[in-house]
């Protein structure tokens, strides 16, 4: 915890959520905009998978990103809990993180693909597409 504090410039800069180093984290710049939904289209064609994924051509993944700073009145879709979370963060900025910018509504997507034995699989992946984002 002490090491983590060293890297922080001042109180109140703790991010909304823990940002894990991930595959999709190629946008390294600091996000200062409010929490909202962003486009992320993963093209199966770009991945050279069009031979075994029959449909769709790509996956509308979307993701939620942005700041959930106090006051949350300007943030659409901020839950009641997010307001409490923001207040507690103000009181204990080191111990309690800000509300998370996260999906508030998710929908399913289906993928149709071949397996090794030329069987065809149509699989519905529930809660995969972020339809809307909000502070939680």
């Amino acid at each position: 915890a002490a090491n983590r504090r060293k890297g922080r410039k001042k109180y109140g800069e703790r991010p909304s959520c823990e940002r894990l180093p991930g595959t999709f984290g190629y946008n390294g710049r600091e996000q200062t905009q409010v929490c909202k939904r962003h486009d992320l289209y993963v093209s199966f064609r770009e991945l050279d998978w069009q031979d075994w994924i029959i449909a769709p051509e790509g996956y509308e993944a979307f993701y939620c990103d942005g700041d959930c700073s106090f006051p949350l009145g300007s943030h659409m879709n901020a839950s009641n809990h997010a307001i409490v979370q923001a207040l507690v963060h103000l009181m204990k900025p080191d111990a309690v993180p800000k509300p998370c910018c996260a999906p508030t509504k998710l929908s399913a997507t289906s993928v149709l693909y071949f397996d090794d034995k030329y069987n065809v699989i149509l699989k519905k992946y529930r809660n995969m597409v972020a339809k809307s984002c909000g502070c939680q």
């Binding site: 992320l40 996956y59 929908s107 030329y118 065809v120």
Partner: protein
């Protein structure tokens, strides 16, 4: 829709991924799909086979439901669209988490010169079912072409059995699964309910001895399924028989450890 695709691609990753990032991304997406690795490269002509075409139609119906559009009557119902013959997929599609088609692995045809009864036998490998899925419906689909060599008003009975036990010296034990009537001039897909059998094969894979199909006249005379117009695995690719199974995720979904 070209303009929509262009819009998508304009939003696609703002820079080219290097090969390591690309591999990592592929690995992550395969993980989401529940696959340990990508399937082997596929021959392009396989896409035009009967099962992928059927599944693509189901996909389009499912995708239109997901995007909130009104369901279209796009399912490939070719034969006898009466209420009695409404296929299973219509009622199970909306509930299904996974739908799988299985290609026919083996098709044996009885030697017509040595036996009075003629039949076709089909086998499907169900060992690759995803974990944590329950079968809600399954059907065997076989295409019938029109045949002018029979009288047009001749009623033929097509019956599908599950092979329960095989013997070297006598006929196997069979379990009646489903039957349908057909007429020589008709053309289209015949669908047979094999839900109970699929569950049986999933629970006891070593009991998967295949399906046996018979065609008989009303008088009980045996008819060669091929000459009656039923297309087998050597027929046109777009009309070969296959099996389709609908699954629903069990209450406690199995999650891949990462």
């Amino acid at each position: 829709n070209g303009s929509l695709m262009n819009q998508h691609h304009s939003n696609f990753i703002h820079r080219r991924l290097n090969s390591r990032e690309r591999r990592e991304m592929q690995k992550e997406i395969l993980s989401i799909l529940g696959l340990s690795r990508r399937p082997r490269p596929l021959l392009s002509f396989k896409r035009s086979a009967s099962a992928p075409v059927f599944m693509l139609d189901l996909y389009r119906t499912m995708a239109s439901e997901e995007t909130g559009r009104v369901r279209g009557a796009s399912l490939p119902f070719h034969m006898l669209p009466s209420a009695h013959h409404r296929p299973l997929e219509e009622s199970f599609l909306s509930q299904a988490d996974t739908i799988m088609s299985f290609v026919n692995g083996v098709e044996q045809t009885e030697d017509t010169f040595h036996h009075k009864t003629q039949w076709k036998e089909f086998k499907f490998d169900l060992t690759r079912i995803p974990r944590g899925e329950m079968v809600t419906a399954a059907e065997f689909r076989i295409y019938k072409t029109s045949n002018e060599s029979f009288p047009g008003n001749l009623t033929l009975h097509v019956t599908v059995y599950q092979v329960l036990q095989e013997f070297h010296d006598r006929e196997p034990h069979l379990l009646l699964l489903d039957s349908q009537e057909m007429w020589p001039m008709e053309e289209g897909w015949l669908e047979f309910d094999i839900t109970a059998t699929s569950n049986d094969w999933l629970m006891n894979p070593h009991y998967n001895l295949g399906l046996r199909l018979f065609v008989e006249t009303e008088g009980g005379g045996s008819v060669d399924p091929g000459s009656a117009g039923l297309v087998g695995r050597r027929g046109p690719r777009t009309k070969r028989p296959f099996m389709v199974t609908f699954f629903r995720a069990s209450q406690a979904p199995v999650r891949t450890i990462r």
